[in-house]
């Protein structure tokens, strides 16, 4: 009998199972998790005829090697890397047929950080709260891949691929991130906010799936201390006491006590997920979505009697 599974020959630095994540549980302390580069994850699935929510593998910088036990159609997207089947070069960003028992290798990322490997049928790890994503903060979902591990694959035979080949998006030399100021920009001085807008930040090597840490100037605070714990959104730029902004990614904690100076809209986070340590980061503050500070209707101080 042929297993619908694959074995892990080389796990790489950090390779995890990812999908669209588990939303709707933040009030229980459960991070959203899911692929950091969602467009790349979705594209890999489309290339092999999967639904968007099928689980893929997310590699980190050094790729991985796996051996499917059944014939599989696979696709690699995200960070460009060398792809080979039994040592023979194969296409990146296109469907690739891998015979049962062949060795599929993803080399180190030539640029970017995270490559996505989709199998037709998807990775069939047990879902937790509706998602197969590995959450490195809370430990939910399947363990990160380890050499010698065997993971199940779903049943192949979905819709035929909707795309044959995709252009490479390119990875910019500088990460430019628009920021919606707030909710706690008033915890920073005008000079601190200028530093955010003009400072030369770099991606720190301490970045991970929880957050993109920066090196660079410290944001000057207008007030000391910590906030009572409050809800944290994906894309929040939290500023710990050292003043260096941390951009929250998919595995971020759901509550926190350090002030959030602004929030990067979700559509820009895929680029953040692909920025290698040392990449320059520029934050470009946008106007407000609506007027904060006071409730917009009259008499905010007595609003909502209760």
């Amino acid at each position: 009998m042929t297993d619908s599974a694959f074995s892990v020959e080389r796990a790489g630095a950090l390779t995890t199972v990812q999908d669209l994540g588990r939303t709707g549980h933040a009030h229980l302390g459960v991070p959203r998790s899911g692929a950091l580069d969602q467009p790349a994850h979705r594209l890999a699935n489309r290339l092999v005829g999967n639904a968007d929510d099928a689980a893929t593998l997310e590699t980190t910088l050094t790729g991985c090697a796996v051996r499917p036990r059944r014939a599989a159609t696979v696709a690699v997207t995200g960070a460009p890397c060398a792809v080979s089947v039994d040592g023979r070069p194969a296409a990146w960003g296109a469907p690739v047929r891998v015979p049962a028992g062949a060795l599929l290798e993803l080399g180190a990322a030539t640029h970017g950080v995270r490559s996505y490997l989709a199998f037709d049928g998807g990775v069939a790890a047990d879902p937790v709260l509706g998602s197969r994503a590995t959450d490195v903060l809370s430990g939910l979902g399947p363990a990160p891949l380890a050499d010698g591990a065997v993971l199940a694959l779903g049943r192949a035979g979905g819709a035929p691929p909707a795309v044959d080949v995709v252009p490479h998006r390119g990875v910019p030399r500088e990460l430019v991130l628009p920021v919606v100021l707030g909710p706690r920009d008033d915890w920073f001085t005008a000079a601190g906010l200028r530093t955010l807008a003009t400072g030369g930040f770099r991606v720190s090597a301490a970045s991970n799936r929880i957050g993109l840490r920066t090196e660079g100037p410290a944001l000057e605070r207008a007030r000391e201390g910590e906030l009572p714990s409050e809800g944290m959104a994906l894309g929040a730029i939290q500023v710990p006491p050292d003043g260096r902004p941390v951009l929250f990614l998919a595995d971020h904690p759901t509550t926190g006590g350090y002030p959030v100076v602004g929030v990067v809209p979700e559509r820009w986070l895929a680029a953040a997920a692909q920025a290698v340590p040392g990449t320059g980061v520029r934050f470009t503050p946008l106007g407000r979505v609506f007027r904060g500070r006071t409730a917009p209707a009259a008499s905010p101080e007595r609003a909502g009697r209760g």
């Binding site: 709707g24 933040a26 707030g182 909710p183 009572p228 409050e230 990067v264 979700e266």
Partner: protein
């Protein structure tokens, strides 16, 4: 009730209130409106110490404009399911907590187990609830040096809150006891024993420093 709406990205809203009770009351109102279909579609509603975060709104500014006109019923402490958590009050920081409270460890146990708690909000880890109910004078600081490993099931205090560690992790809270109750089981429905609004009582087990249950703790007396 004072209420301040702050922007969170282009699809979020952080509503700040004057107190934890007000935040819980607004959270309850949001859940009532969501259940009745009177709340715009939203991905997450995250209550916390003095705020409620709404994320994934199509029009956060519209909701922010609407909020001040809402009638929000005050928090009814008696509402919600009650969970009993059996505890061995054998934590390494029980004596220190009793000292901070100015009572004996036995009395600290009586105060804690005689209190009705309520999950104000969750965070830190899946299934970790921040429980309120202790009077303000019983607030305690975090430990100056956090422990690198707090065992699963530790019952702990920090600030005005009581919490139970759903799994082993680093932590800076004062440990007063241990429970075998499983706080989080991803295979269980619901996975989290405690969710915002749940009422909680801690029941002392035999072998605790004093298993006598009594409604009146003689606070302030010393041996």
């Amino acid at each position: 009730m004072t209420l301040r709406s702050l922007p969170v990205g282009d699809h979020g809203l952080l509503v700040e209130l004057g107190s934890g009770d007000e935040a819980e009351a607004l959270h309850a109102e949001l859940l009532r409106r969501a259940a009745d279909g009177r709340l715009p579609a939203v991905r997450e509603i995250v209550p916390a110490a003095r705020t409620v975060l709404l994320d994934g709104l199509a029009d956060p500014g519209g909701l922010a404009a609407e909020l001040p006109g809402w009638e929000i019923a005050p928090l009814a402490r008696g509402d919600g399911a009650t969970v009993e958590v059996p505890v061995r009050y054998d934590g390494p920081d029980l004596a220190e907590v009793a000292r901070l409270w100015g009572v004996t460890p036995e009395e600290a146990v009586r105060v804690h187990s005689g209190t009705e708690f309520r999950v104000a909000f969750c965070g830190f880890a899946p299934g970790f609830g921040y429980l309120t109910g202790l009077p303000e004078r019983f607030a305690v600081p975090r430990r100056a040096t956090p422990r690198t490993r707090v065992p699963v099931g530790s019952v702990a205090l920090a600030g005005p809150y009581t919490g139970v560690y759903p799994r082993a992790s680093p932590g800076g809270w004062q440990l007063i006891g241990t429970t075998d109750t499983v706080l989080w089981d991803a295979a269980r429905e619901p996975a989290a024993l405690l969710s915002p609004g749940t009422r909680v009582r801690f029941v002392p087990l035999d072998g605790s420093s004093n298993a006598v249950e009594g409604p009146t703790a003689r606070e302030g007396s010393r041996t």
